[in-house]
């Protein structure tokens, strides 16, 4: 079974077609590269895979499952609950003075003991009285609004970057996006968040669970920083890091969630040859950790040197796919991409 399966993905922005009917599959353990000239739709494809954009057509499956959360009984149940709650809430809100008077105003004599049981009984007895025609209308309106809002919000969150990330797809960005105010280790710890379990209360009260997790996560984070050769700068603030090292930090952060698939968006952009060599080594080591890699790259040297398979995009369409050797000899590719580069 393929780890990532992209089937017939089309992505339109208004009249612009950024990707058209793109299909490919990434097998576990591969380093898979997507290449193509500028504006070929590579980054759009990445953004679509990582949940930032929703494909206009086609599907993206990860580890055998569709990445769009299916409509389920739980969603329906939640929508119903929200609908009922909104309905009750609206009715109560619009009659709050009346209900207050019935339950409390009429029962409480200043300075005397309050008959709690009677108040509760009166309150419950008051509800049917609110059911004048408009009272019922309000209840229905509240239900519709609550149900609708719940479904709309759910619809919007069916396939979001955080859900995709939690499924096991991590990514880096073409124009590095670190948490620049945070230290290196904190950056990595944010990446690790998806697999942390200490809850809000345990963090607030520093319960043993929090302490244990802090120990283990920090040592994991340091290990990851060491993995990308940043082990000695863990406490520095990310924005003070040189550009080349920022890329490494981004990779460490992405790896922190223990993803099964890592998306690298032009990792070698702006690097000199020696840095590029280091990077290639790093990517291989990432793969050797058991992480499948999908990368977009311009540098042919990088792509040809490390990829197991390559797909070529042009004008948003897939024009070729195969092993590096196949791509190198594919006439369409040579013309569309490699040939062009020779001239340019």
């Amino acid at each position: 079974m393929s780890l990532l399966e992209v089937r017939g993905v089309t992505m339109r922005f208004g009249g612009l077609v950024a990707n058209e009917d793109v299909s490919f599959a990434v097998e576990p353990g591969q380093i898979y590269a997507v290449i193509g000239p500028n504006g070929a739709g590579k980054t759009t494809l990445f953004n679509t895979i990582s949940g930032l954009y929703q494909p206009s057509a086609g599907s993206i499956r990860f580890a055998g499952e569709d990445t769009v959360e299916p409509f389920s009984a739980a969603v329906a149940a939640r929508a119903l609950v929200v609908g009922v709650a909104t309905s009750v809430g609206l009715v109560v809100a619009l009659n709050v003075e009346e209900l207050w008077r019935i339950a409390i105003g009429d029962n409480y004599a200043y300075g005397e003991a309050f008959p709690w049981a009677k108040a509760a009984k009166d309150l419950l007895a008051a509800f049917p009285g609110l059911g004048a025609w408009w009272g019922l209308g309000v209840a229905v309106l509240g239900f519709v609004i609550g149900l609708g809002a719940s479904l709309v919000l759910w619809q919007r969150s069916r396939r979001t970057p955080d859900r995709i990330a939690r499924r096991g797809i991590a990514r880096t960005f073409q124009n590095i996006r670190l948490f620049s105010d945070l230290s290196l280790i904190e950056n990595v710890l944010v990446g690790m968040d998806a697999r942390m379990r200490a809850g809000f209360w345990s963090c607030l009260l520093r319960l043993p669970r929090f302490r244990a997790e802090r120990e283990s996560s920090e040592s994991d984070a340091r290990e990851l920083l060491a993995f990308v050769d940043l082990g000695d700068r863990a406490e520095e603030v990310a924005k003070n890091l040189p550009y080349g090292l920022q890329r490494r930090l981004e990779i460490a952060r992405a790896l922190a969630s223990w993803p099964r698939l890592l998306l690298l968006d032009e990792p070698a952009a702006g690097m000199n040859p020696s840095e590029t060599n280091d990077l290639m080594r790093l990517i291989r080591r990432v793969r050797d950790r058991g992480v499948t890699v999908l990368l977009i790259e311009h540098h042919m040297k990088v792509v040809m040197g490390i990829s197991d398979r390559i797909m070529v995009l042009q004008y948003g369409k897939r024009i070729a796919e195969g092993s590096p050797a196949e791509i190198r000899s594919d006439p369409t590719c040579i013309e569309a991409y490699l040939g062009k580069e020779e001239h340019g």
């Binding site: 200043y110 970057p161 945070l182 710890l189 200490a198 996560s217 406490e235």
Partner: protein
Amino acid sequence: MRRAPLLIAMLAAALAWPIAEQFLPGSWSVLDAVKSIFIFAILGLALNAVTGFAGILNLGIAAFMAIGAYAFAILTNDLYPFQIGFWPAILLTLPIGALAGFLLGAPTLGLRGDYLAIVTLGFGEIVQDVLKNLDSITLGTQGINPLPAPVVPWWKPGEDGQGGGLGLVDLAEETQGAGPLLSYYLFLAFVVVAWLVFRNLERSRVGRAWMSLRSDELASRSMGIPPVRTKMLAFATAAAFAAFAGGLWASWLSSTGEPANYDFQISILALCIVIVGGMGSIAGVLVGALVMIGVNSIVLVKLFEWLQSKGLGASGSVFVSPNSWKYLLFGLALVLMMRFKPDGLVPASGRGERKPSGGRS
């Protein structure tokens, strides 16, 4: 720059102040004003969690304060049947505030920053209107009073000034003899608790998730941080502590005041505390509260008193009345502050021109 020495120094000063004050002339007494600094410090810490840490501009924090104050009042005042006393009521303001935050946040926290800002602004207005309009419940603009002061176990003098022992002291009686010190220290303790809460959150996955959203929401989401749920935690926590501050405020005044007392100006004051102190910096917020409220209700008041004693402002013309200049001073201070010290007086680590340093985990 390490914050700990600053915080310890501030704490020590706060602990020592009432004793130092004994040696100053009576007209210098500012203990009451300092209590309002404490309340606003808690409000500032709350707002800092949502605006400073999570980067959500909340322009309606005063609404949660109002909710806390009215909840506290309704739960304690003898016009209502509940009358549960100071401690249960003040603790209940926390979940009540959190619930209000949840109800507002659930449908809106997915909105982009400025849209959310206007929603919180609107919420601030709605809450005032609702409190005003539901006058059979909230007494409208009457204000609910009196409200209980804290009751604490403490050494209590005997009936005739002899003996005495441990007993429950009602701090409302303080002005009549026990001295306003216990409530001062109690409020200080609340600030310390709030500080610990927010410090613990800041240095945990919760705080990191907030800060990552502030720093780069997109990257944060791509790391698997669920934005709405994470923001909700910040929003509801802030709402809870704002409500708590509101309850304390009402207890301190022994009245809710009128709903219009919790208007936009309070939200702005809280925002200024956070920003002047340093967004996302807990020590900064405390300094911000000290500076803003201190200047506002101590320095300016004393200054105007002094000016008045020199005969200024007696003629009633708007130009020579010092009070008429307050807005201008306030506005200028904000503009200059943002121009020359935009990261606040005590910038959060990682902001400003901070050198790399260690010590955070």
